[in-house]
């Protein structure tokens, strides 16, 4: 943990993180789809299928509804930009990324919120019933996710005495005993529920449905097509990778590069990819076994996550 990496090395690292997230997002989705298909007894499309889909979409013509304003084409850009910024500054491969001092957990959360708000605005800009329906539901779930998320962050930040992501991760590397404490376990469960809700996976939302009564995220992006739809889909998959990586690094930090140098980094890429793939397979397997919750049952799930997060903070104080 000594020696300051050079600016060039840190920037290269950030660039590597961004590129891996861009490529890893669609591949993760492909992997999860494959696992799901296999468990249901189907062959399923190849893992690289989402990448091929993106290429197909990107070549199509751009369209937008007649009555929409400049918000409609801007929304996917803002969504993608927020995730790119997080991918660049967050400690995904190393505990010392470029601008790691700026990777505050609260800032990351509010950046994601910025993306979600713009996607909802883009949906409302179409002036259709579906856009409004999706936006209303997504924002309701988003508003209710926030308390659980921030209190869970608090539970992680209290022992580390900071909400800076690289600092939290390197401190848990230094004190591995922290990872087994009750507050970590409780916070982990809260985080998993929050990530399921934020990324619109089962049982909160079904990404594979186009049924009016149940769709949330798909209703919001119904009017997007061509390169704009590709951008939304890519951004959503990138968000899943970033969330999985942060989850993995916060709760199972081993493998992340603590020191500079290409060898550490290469090891970290392999370890992180492995952890994220494991989480993806686990979530896909879980998704096969559950049914989607009714929309008005989702708040109960999120309230449960909030209670767990509060318990995590309280136990953090009792233990500390």
């Amino acid at each position: 943990m000594s020696g300051h990496p050079s600016v060039v090395a840190m920037t290269a690292n950030s660039l590597l993180q961004v590129i891996l997230v861009i490529l890893g997002g669609p591949l993760l989705l492909g992997l999860m789809r494959k696992v799901r298909c296999r468990m249901e007894g189907r062959a399923g499309p190849p893992i690289r299928q989402p990448l091929l889909d993106l290429r197909k979409l990107a070549r199509r013509e751009r369209t937008r509804p007649e009555e929409s304003s400049w918000i409609f084409p801007l929304a996917p850009v803002v969504l993608a930009a927020t995730i790119l910024v997080v991918a660049a500054i967050a400690p995904m491969l190393t505990t010392r990324p470029a601008f790691g001092w700026a990777a505050d957990l609260f800032a990351v959360v509010f950046l994601f919120l910025l993306g979600s708000v713009f996607l909802a605005l883009g949906a409302l800009d179409t002036g259709t019933a579906f856009g409004g329906m999706g936006a209303s539901r997504a924002m309701t779930i988003g508003a209710l996710t926030e308390p659980a998320l921030l209190v869970a962050i608090l539970a992680l930040s209290v022992p580390a005495r900071t909400s800076n992501l690289p600092a939290i991760i390197s401190q848990s590397l230094d004190h591995p005993a922290w990872l087994a404490t009750p507050q970590r376990v409780l916070a982990l469960v809260a985080f998993v529920i929050v990530i399921i809700a934020e990324s619109g996976r089962l049982p909160v939302d079904n990404p594979a449905t186009h049924l009016e009564l149940t769709m949330i995220h798909e209703a919001m992006v119904l009017e997007y097509g061509g390169p704009d739809l590709a951008l939304v889909k890519l951004a959503e998959s990138m968000r899943l990778v970033v969330l999985f990586t942060l989850l993995a690094n916060l709760f199972i930090p081993w493998g992340i590069a603590g020191a500079p140098g290409p060898s550490h980094l290469a090891l970290s890429v392999v370890a992180t990819a492995g952890k994220v793939a494991f989480l993806g397979i686990a979530m896909a397997a879980f998704e096969v076994t559950v049914a989607k919750l009714r929309l008005f049952r989702v708040p109960e799930l999120l309230a449960g996550a909030f209670v767990l997060a509060v318990l995590a903070v309280v136990s953090a104080l009792v233990v500390a």
Partner: protein
């Protein structure tokens, strides 16, 4: 020098009022607005100079007012509020130049508006009890008249005025009692003497005075449960007045709680501050929930003011709690967070109220269910509202995020503690902050998405055009401040830290600025709003460029998918009511929505409906459960009391006779 300028501010304000009262109708608005602008500019200079130099600007005359005379002394803490009011005042006056209607151009209103602005600027400078109460009441009464400016045309205005008058006077009574109690026990009514003697008073006097002043200031700040006037008065007041009330007047409630609780009483036991935190948490959640489900744009903004006052009080309460348990540096961090939120709230709420008034002028309505498609039709006011809305939702890189981050940090660092009250209050505080943050994002996604985007829902909204340029300039200046403060918060943090240091007497702050970044002393990690803004801009630019390179063709305009319907109409669109429906259902127990469906059947067969009308109402729970029953009981008592004096001279003589006997018996 600054003292002369302070006097100049007051005199110019009075001159503006006189000019508004006597000038001929043709030039009335122009003259009084120009003079008010001059008063605000002077106020801005005084405030900025005091903030910069730290020298107190004072005026003292013994002849101008009864009792101990007029006494003004502006320190850094007060100067912060003077600067906020002056900036909001300048923008509101620029806005007013293009604003017509709502009775603001009448002789009375032109006379009273400058007085209101001047009183707002002088309240933070008052340095004895009489002066403070005089200016406070001047502010309350002038604002009441301005709320009533449009009463000739709409009946709701009168109801709003009644609510406002009652609530503000209840507050004033509590305030007078509290301040008189404090002044008599200290033996002097000057603030400097009170500040010296108050810490040594018996604790029941201090606590009673504190609770009374909190009731007084809380009613002005619109804290729950004293908020009921706010969602009524703000929508009915003329545009510039509602902006001044929400962005400058409610601040003075927070000012009062800090000035008296921290500055004069010198802090107190932890239950004081737990009370403030509880008030704050209740206001924040209640306000956020109601603004998330309101469908009137100005009512939504008014409830959101209650929400933001709640966040400020949460910060003030946390600050007091830390101070009472000995965490002095943290106490200052929380206070700085609360004051930063006051500054930022003034900017975004001012711009939101002003642009909402522009929308009202352009479309004739503030009902979200009748708006839509305004971003394209109002190319300046639309984006201004958008910026204000994103800032208030605490989204980076705009200003609201910075103060919320700082508030979260102060709560996070307060946590490793042995004090049970802190250990319980802080996680709840973070939960409240997070829930209101999420709800505010929901609210403004709704306000922007339903109000500005999509198809226009009424013909009026479809024909809307951009308003007069001075109107969008006034609102735009404040929106610009949201952007600047969000990216470069270091521009204001120094002044806020100084102001907080002045009132607490602590000049060592835990908040540091590192160039463009801000952080807390002794902890790794910084908030880098400038860097985030740059990153977002850069990443967005790359994405746009990539999209352009991959698909260089033009964008084709298409018809939106309407489930096979041929024509896409606004009737298919989601409304504010339907947008808020899931949330209304989730919080059914708190909001208690009432729903009434009228179905009229075709005469031949009752299996076919001719028309169906659905009425939904959301009542304010405090209004329904507390104020209405209280009002009913008062009316009953009043009815009984009215029966006693029936006009008979004999009865009055009997009253006098018995009263005399009672007095004689009592004295004997």
């Amino acid at each position: 020098m600054t003292s002369a300028l302070l006097a100049g501010t007051a005199l110019t304000g009075v001159a503006a009022a006189v000019a508004g009262g006597v000038a001929p109708a043709r030039v009335r608005t122009g003259v009084s607005t120009a003079l008010t602008l001059a008063a605000c500019a002077l106020g801005l200079v005084v405030g900025a100079e005091v903030l910069h130099s730290g020298h107190v600007a004072g005026i003292r005359t013994s002849s101008l007012m009864p009792l101990s005379g007029l006494s003004l002394a502006l320190d850094r803490f007060g100067a912060l509020f003077v600067v906020i009011t002056a900036v909001v005042g300048i923008c509101a006056m620029v806005f007013r130049l293009g604003y017509d209607g709502h009775g603001l151009s009448s002789r009375t209103a032109s006379c009273i508006l400058p007085l209101f602005v001047t009183a707002l600027m002088l309240v933070p400078a008052a340095s004895n009890v009489t002066t403070f109460l005089f200016l406070w009441e001047l502010m309350a009464i002038t604002s009441l008249f301005l709320v009533l400016a449009d009463q000739g045309r709409r009946a709701e205005v009168q109801v709003a005025g009644q609510w406002y008058a009652v609530m503000t006077q209840i507050g004033a009574v509590a305030l007078i009692l509290g301040l008189v109690l404090l002044a008599t026990h200290c033996g002097n009514q000057s603030f400097s003497v009170i500040a010296l003697r108050a810490p040594h008073l018996p604790s029941w006097v201090r606590s009673t005075a504190f609770v009374l002043t909190v009731i007084g200031f809380g009613s002005k700040a619109g804290a729950v449960p004293l908020h009921v006037w706010l969602p009524r008065a703000h929508p009915e007041a003329p545009g510039p007045v509602s902006a001044l009330m929400s962005a400058a007047m409610v601040n003075l409630g927070v000012y009062g709680i800090i000035r008296f609780g921290v500055g004069l009483l010198g802090g107190g036991p932890s239950w004081w501050w737990l009370l403030i935190m509880a008030l704050g948490a209740l206001s924040a959640m209640f306000g956020a929930l109601h603004s998330a489900t309101s469908k009137d744009l100005k009512r939504l903004l008014a409830y959101s003011t209650t929400d933001n006052v709640g966040l400020m009080l949460l910060g003030v309460g946390a600050s007091g709690l830390f101070a009472s348990t000995g965490h002095r540096a943290l106490s200052l961090v929380a206070l700085v967070a609360a004051l930063l939120h006051v500054v930022f709230h003034a900017a975004f709420k001012g711009s939101l109220f002003l642009s909402a008034s522009s929308i009202q002028q352009a479309t004739g309505s503030t009902d979200l269910d009748g708006l839509g498609g305004l971003l394209r039709r109002m190319p300046m006011s639309g984006p201004i509202f958008l910026i204000g809305g994103l800032a208030i939702a605490a989204l980076p890189p705009l200003s609201g995020f910075v103060s919320e981050w700082l508030l979260l940090q102060s709560m996070l660092h307060g946590l490793p503690t042995s004090d049970v009250s802190i250990a319980l209050a802080m996680p709840i505080g973070v939960g409240v902050l997070a829930l209101t943050g999420g709800l505010t994002a929901f609210t403004f996604a709704k306000a922007i998405g339903i109000g500005l985007l999509g198809l226009p829902r009424t013909p009026r909204a479809g024909q809307a055009t951009e308003v007069h340029r001075s109107m969008w300039t006034g609102a735009g200046l404040l929106a610009l401040l949201c952007l600047i403060f969000g990216i470069a918060p270091f521009l204001v943090i120094g002044a806020v830290v100084d102001a907080a240091g002045d009132v607490t007497g602590m000049h060592h702050s835990g908040v540091m600025t590192h160039g463009w970044q801000i952080g807390l002393q002794g902890t790794p990690g910084l908030l880098a709003p400038g860097l985030l803004a740059l990153g977002l801009l850069g990443a967005g630019g790359v994405v746009v460029l990539a999209r352009r390179l991959i698909q260089p063709g033009p964008v084709r305009l298409t018809e939106a998918w309407g489930c096979g319907r041929e024509l896409q109409t606004a009737q298919m669109e989601y409304t504010a009511t339907s947008f808020g429906e899931p949330l209304t259902r989730v919080f059914e127990d708190v909001l208690n929505p009432a729903r009434d469906i009228d179905v009229s059947h075709i005469a031949e067969s009752r299996y076919y409906t001719e028309a169906a009308v659905i009425h939904t109402t959301l009542d304010d729970a405090f209004e329904r459960r507390f104020y209405r029953p209280a009002n009913r009981i008062l009316q009953q008592w009043g009815g009984i009391a009215r029966r006693v004096p029936n006009g008979s001279v004999h009865r009055y003589l009997a009253f006098g006779f018995f009263a005399l006997i009672v007095v004689l018996v009592a004295l004997a």
